[in-house]
């Protein structure tokens, strides 16, 4: 990895060490707990699917039936029901959707349950491994055809069938990654809707069927364009592990999956989020899914110059949480953003400093770089230029995943033409400065180099404070994104469950083993 900033390895190591110490007590909490959505995710991995007439998903029906028993793990009861009824998974799902209550069945032989459960684990593992192998084969087959950084666009019509048109058009125009934005506030639903959907606000429901439809649509384009097209969706929220599970099953390639985003930006309870993120990330790790973290969000509420160090600190934490969940660096799309006030003199230099710094500190991570959003205005012509400079910095500092800025950012979710304009902008800039990064050296002690050193130093200091305070306390005090989140408030706390002594989850065990984690 090129080194232009001469950052001190000692300070970087120090930050990593601090992150480890900060995360450690949280991990202790995590391993002792499960949540309703962890249990539902486990059920989904086993095959639980479908919904009742009111649209309540089967995994929710099951978990609702198991009030008080969840501390043992929901999978025990689901597998027990399979054995007891002699049904197939599909048959059982149907029965449950029709009202069959599995919580009331007497528990059968533990060993038999374990045997049957392991069968399901194997089936799941095979399916996900097949997905992973398919992705890797296609990436190999179409090597060198993607842009670097990857061009990432969103579709957000609310209607999966309109989304398909937009996604295919974008992929045809050169997009490497298509993210289907979720409908406003889906992250606050404590269930995952079922089936294909056509009604959403500012985004489309994340459902397994929608995943499937979009995957098939993009697979078509892949063959036509002879280029792999990554499919992305959003996990973070009250159903983080379930969406990760669905993504693993339907061969999504990336997943928004932050360890703290839900707490800060969605007011989800922190205990809940910490537990959920771990299981969801284990699934993503196993499925070869790249996670994207949400540090960019800090800068939508705080100032990008003043608070640059909180972004870096959060990257260290997200990295640590990810490692604890078995994610290798190459699957860590750590987030940051080009959110500086465009009126700042030398703003470009500061952006270059921060982006290059992230690049050098996390050399193996496919950094996710977010475009200007906060300072975009209705002046679409100015917006084009802001996006052009963003494209420039991203290419120049070798980012990994490049979220395309839209000239209409301040106006509406992207029109089909907006996306095309954005792709043209980025492709032109990238090609025009193709090898610039390798051409340029920074003046020692210049503005850029100094800025990077300063941000790293501030991040270390910040992490030291957090370490002293404790992560949860720090979040209570509003250290991140200037938002205070009391630990026993926020959505979804009632879905937190302390694992009982009998807690059983062979899927979790399998993942722990596969990922080489300590139990």
């Amino acid at each position: 990895m090129e080194n232009k900033l001469a950052l001190s390895q000692e300070r970087i190591d120090r930050a990593r060490e601090l992150a480890k110490r900060i995360v450690s007590p949280v991990q202790d909490f995590i391993v002792e707990h499960t949540t309703v959505t962890v249990e539902r995710a486990t059920l989904r991995l086993a095959g639980a699917d479908g919904a009742d007439v009111d649209g309540v998903p089967v995994p929710n029906l099951v978990v609702d039936q198991l009030k008080g028993k969840l501390e043992n793990g929901a999978i025990t009861y689901y597998v027990n029901a399979l054995l007891k009824t002699g049904e197939t998974v599909e048959g059982l799902n149907r029965k449950i959707a029709e009202g069959f209550r599995i919580g009331e069945l007497p528990l059968g032989d533990k060993a038999a349950i374990d045997r049957k459960a392991k069968e399901l684990v194997l089936a799941f593992a095979e399916r996900v491994k097949r997905n992973r192998a398919h992705r890797e084969a296609k990436l190999e087959q179409f090597k060198g055809r993607n842009c670097s950084p990857l061009l990432y666009v969103i579709v957000a019509t609310g209607n999966i069938y309109e989304d398909v048109k937009q996604a295919q058009a974008a992929a045809g125009q050169g997009a490497d990654v298509v993210a289907v934005i979720r409908t406003t506030a889906q992250s606050l639903l404590d269930y995952v809707p079922y089936g294909a959907t056509t009604e959403g606000f500012g985004g489309t429901y994340a459902t397994q069927e929608n995943f499937r439809i979009m995957r098939a649509a993009l697979d078509e384009v892949i063959e036509k364009e002879q280029r792999y097209v990554y499919l992305t969706n959003y996990a973070s929220g009250l159903c983080m592990p379930e969406i990760a599970a669905m993504g693993a099953l339907e061969r999504l390639d990336m997943m928004l999956n932050d360890s703290m985003y839900g707490i800060l930006f969605r007011d989800i309870n922190m205990y809940r989020t910490f537990v959920d993120q771990k299981f969801s990330r284990m699934i993503n790790a196993f499925a070869g899914v790249i996670i994207n973290t949400g540090e960019d969000n800090y800068l939508t509420t705080s100032d990008a110059v003043e608070k640059a160090h909180t972004v870096l600190a959060s990257q260290f934490l997200n990295e640590r949480f990810a490692l604890e969940a078995g994610l290798p660096p190459k699957q860590m799309g750590l987030g940051h953003a080009f959110e500086m006030n465009p009126t700042i003199e030398n703003g470009f230099l500061l952006e270059v400093a921060q982006a290059q710094m992230a690049r050098e500190i996390f050399p193996d991570a496919p950094l996710k770089y977010m475009p200007p959003t906060k300072f975009m205005t209705g002046d679409i012509f100015k917006g084009q230029v802001q996006d052009a400079l963003f494209n420039f910095v991203s290419k120049f500092t070798n980012q990994g995943i490049h979220l395309l800025g839209m000239l209409t950012e301040a106006i509406h979710t992207p029109f089909m033409m907006d996306r095309s304009i954005a792709l043209e902008n980025a492709k032109y800039v990238f090609n025009n400065i193709q090898d610039l990064s390798g051409e340029i050296e920074f003046k020692k002690d210049g503005i850029i180099v100094k800025r990077a050193h300063q941000v790293l130093e501030e991040a270390v200091t910040f992490l030291e404070t957090i370490e002293r305070t404790g992560l949860m306390e720090a979040m209570e005090q509003g250290e991140f994104a200037e938002i205070k989140r009391p630990r026993d408030m926020g959505k979804g706390l009632d879905g937190l469950v302390k694992k009982g002594p009998e807690y059983y989850n062979p899927f979790e065990a399998y993942l722990i083993n596969e990922l080489g984690l300590k139990a």
Binding site: G158, A169, F201, D267, T301, T413, F415, M417
Partner: protein, 245 residues
């Protein structure tokens, strides 16, 4: 005075347009685009660029010249606040002097909307662009309930603290979700017989005084609003009401 768009000569009527058509790119698409622009009332329409977005969609940039104009003399806008806007200290002085009691304001980002930056800009201590927020006003008691607050809860809270004014922020406007949500809020207030009890203001990037008033609000505030504007509006209305009684 009739005013028309201006390119480089008075009344040339020059306008730039861009749009997508659900047809393949090519001469026929370009001709359709040109005819479309003409149909909008442009005498002279030129498609200066087109490219394919996919097999069935294409993008057009066009310039047109029109004789259509607007009689500027008949254009009136009723902004919530006029020329005279109180600064923070002035506002507090006026409250003390003319109302003689603290003013209570409750605000929230309602429905599913989680864009708090706007309402925070109006209410938080820190304020926005060197304009302090309402929380910093000595004579105002300000409660900012934050994001995604259900209409029902907001009304409850406003009753509880005996609010003078309720501030609603709506940023997401896709599929007119803000209109639904804002309408629901007013209907709820009316159903409870509370409409007259509060000064009700709405705000947000795409919200103007006109829209808000149409939806039954007392006033609406768009882009570029500061706490000063809302405070001025609320104070003047309260003084009016007091005098009227």
């Amino acid at each position: 005075m009739i005013v028309r768009p201006y390119g480089d000569t008075l009344d040339d009527g020059a306008v730039q347009l861009s749009f997508t058509l659900p047809v393949p790119d090519g001469p026929r698409g370009r001709e359709a685009a040109r005819l479309f622009v003409e149909k909008l009332g442009f005498k002279h329409a030129e498609v200066v660029h087109s490219h394919a977005l996919s097999e069935g969609f294409s993008f057009y940039v066009a310039y047109g010249k029109t004789e259509i104009g607007i009689d500027f003399d008949t254009v009136h806008v009723e902004e919530a606040v006029g020329e005279k806007v109180y600064g923070m200290y002035e506002a507090c002085d006026v409250i003390k002097e003319k109302l003689g009691r603290k003013v209570v304001v409750v605000g929230a980002c309602t429905g599913f909307d989680a864009h708090t930056v706007g309402i925070d800009a109006i209410m938080n201590m820190k304020g926005y662009n060197h304009h302090y927020g309402l929380e910093r006003y000595h004579e105002i008691e300000a409660y900012n309930l934050g994001a995604q607050v259900p209409n029902e809860k907001l009304i409850e809270f406003a009753e509880k603290v005996k609010a003078d004014a309720i501030l609603i922020s709506q940023i997401v406007t896709q599929k007119d979700v803000h209109i639904q949500n804002m309408t629901e809020f007013i209907e709820l207030l009316q159903a409870k017989g509370l409409r007259e009890k509060f000064i009700v203001c709405a705000g947000g990037t795409r919200i103007g005084n006109k829209l808000a008033v149409e939806l039954g609000y007392d006033a609406g505030f768009g882009k570029g609003t500061y706490a000063d504007h809302v405070a001025t509006y609320i104070i003047d209305r309260l003084i009016e009401r007091k005098t009227a009684r």
